[in-house]
Symmetry: C2
Subunit: 376 residues, 2 copies
């Protein structure tokens, strides 16, 4: 039933190799023959069998996308962008969800390896060394994780966290909590590092709560803990947790931003729609998806894999690009952050309600006044 190259050859009275060349090397076939073959192919509804082609060329024209949690709203825009970019380059995309499970990640790389030309590892939870090891099996591009020697797409959450802390300090907050995410997350480590440094520089005290599940319930679960501690502001690992936290605080009768300011990370669609609208560090997820696909395909084109048959490419030295791209983040100030206990009276927004109005205004870290506080 399925129409093959052979059917087209029979119909157009040429050898199968001519049909093949009509599609994969048109300049090698006589224009007249070409149009005839194409007409027959069109007639019969012929579509090349990519699996058979892959068997001999070693290139499947598929890529794999391994995602920690598809239901986390951070990922769909990334998936969408990656799929779109891949398809424009005539690639199809396998998507697999690991449920934040490192074991599943490894198993999936193995399972997909033979069916794809490369894999995008998005926010991996496994160890760097395992990633390096797997990258010997199939070309890898890592998103949201820095692995030396491998191409990575990173979002500058360090800069984002710094901007967020500076924003909070500028508003007069001095005791700030960092709501940590998954332990094995690179983003998590970067945020801790950068937020800690920024807090020190601004004369504020940063306490780390966590690790927590990077979900809404992960955020609401710590509401009680946040209330008991005496922080006046919280920087959350991501928007989902920030929103969960706001929900939880609301249930406890703690008002945001009046009593506690909350900042998230990611700028998922959701964050513009909650009340209060969330102040957050926007991460360029779509750009990350596009960039990662580009990097994968670029590296792939240079090094055709496998296939020692007669069709094996001539490129023997497998040279891999190992660029690491850092994408800028962007603090978006909305309504979930407000003046803290040490706010300078000059601020017209509201009268300071801190217990210590005669406190010096601190080192005077400027607030990131606009959404343009992007990373370097």
């Amino acid at each position: 039933m399925p129409v093959t190259i052979r059917d087209v050859a029979r119909a157009s009275g040429v050898h199968i190799s001519t049909v093949s060349r009509t599609f994969s090397a048109p300049h090698l076939v006589n224009p007249e023959t070409r149009v005839r073959v194409l007409a027959c192919a069109e007639d019969l509804g012929y579509r090349p069998n990519r699996a058979a082609r892959a068997l001999i060329t070693g290139r499947t024209h598929n890529i794999g996308l391994i995602i920690a949690d598809i239901a986390n709203p951070f990922f769909p825009p990334l998936i969408k962008a990656a799929e779109s970019q891949a398809r424009h380059r005539d690639y199809h995309v396998f998507v697999a969800d690991t449920n934040e499970d490192p074991t599943a990640e490894e198993e999936l790389v193995h399972a997909l390896a033979k069916q794809v030309d490369g894999v995008l590892l998005c926010s991996p939870r496994m160890s760097n060394s395992l990633i390096e090891q797997l990258s010997r099996e199939v070309p890898l591009v890592v998103v949201n994780r820095q692995v030396t020697g491998l191409p990575c797409v990173l979002m500058d959450v360090g800069q984002g966290a710094r901007a967020a802390i500076e924003h909070l300090v500028g508003l007069g907050h001095r005791r700030i909590a960092l709501l940590g995410g998954p332990r094995s997350s690179w983003t998590n480590r970067e945020m801790r590092r950068a937020a800690g440094a920024a807090a020190r520089a601004g004369g504020a005290e940063l306490t780390v709560l966590g690790p927590n599940a990077p979900t809404e319930v992960g955020g609401s679960a710590v509401a009680e803990q946040v209330r008991r501690s005496d922080v006046s502001a919280v920087l959350a690992y991501n928007d989902l947790m920030a929103i969960g936290l706001i929900e939880g605080l609301d249930a406890l009768g703690v008002r945001v931003p009046q009593e506690v300011s909350v900042v998230g990370v990611d700028d998922i669609t959701l964050s513009r729609l909650t009340r209060p609208k969330l102040t957050t560090v926007a991460t360029p997820t779509a750009a990350a998806g596009r960039t990662a696909v580009d990097m994968l395909l670029q590296q792939d084109i240079e090094s055709p894999r496998g296939a020692r048959g007669p069709g094996a490419g001539t490129a023997l030295g497998v040279r891999r690009t190992t660029a690491q791209v850092m994408l800028q983040t962007d603090l978006v100030i909305r309504d979930s952050t407000g003046p803290g206990p040490y706010a300078r009276p000059a601020r017209p927004l509201a009268a300071p309600r801190g217990p210590d109005p005669h406190c010096p205004a601190g080192p005077g870290i400027p607030t990131a006044a606009t959404g343009d506080a992007v990373a370097s």
Copy 2:
């Protein structure tokens, strides 16, 4: 570099066919040989090449998932559930996004046909006849669309819309708007039909606004129109539009639910997190994803496709199951709906503020008092 069945055969001193059988028909090989072969395979890190296997068996162990818009929060839970279910059955999943474009849908079915054992068409926008035609090329399961002769997974949005309208009528609303979605959406037609009937039965007037883009901006764009019309309640095509509408109304100074009640459809995560929390018709998206995969795989198992080689199956009569599953929906009442102009004074919630308190209480449609108002 990639280790094949041949390497394992050499290492364990048997013919390649024995290695093959060790994996695909273990009962045919001597237990001793089997363990030896398995040990060698493990040692060498052998993984069967599914593309090569597909070439001869005609079964790829892949399925395709064609989605109108991955970024629409309605779909990720469906994708996640489908992918999980597929993987449990040892299938991998291609995901493709059509951007609500019918042409892209068709092209993707063609492109994927040779690489998958079947395709899930989720909320398709193309015509029924085209879908039927495509189903001759590759097994199809359709989600959110009824196509006679094809297996379908449907959500009973008709019942959901009815419950929503009855809820609104019960609250004392008599002029209700239906915020329509995409013209070619089956869900959209079902909702119009059922909502219209329910409104008539309840003595209410239903005006249809649309079609509109099924997005947040699609919702906010009609806020002005809603305000100008004299409706006191709106049933939106989906939650995204409902939330957009609430945003838009808010910007115009119209309060929800005090002045206008709003009901959505889908119960995306988001709808629990906005203020006011959205009253909505919950659709079982995850169950739909699982069910659709099950139906596809079941139908697939009965009819091995293609492969006229020596390995071609003996099942000649291609019998396709054509079950159509209707999943129940569930009205979830939250805070975006409140009493309307014709609310009965007896209701303790709030005093009626309608212009006509002495109006008869209408046919007395009971309100769907709990979230248990499920479809039959």
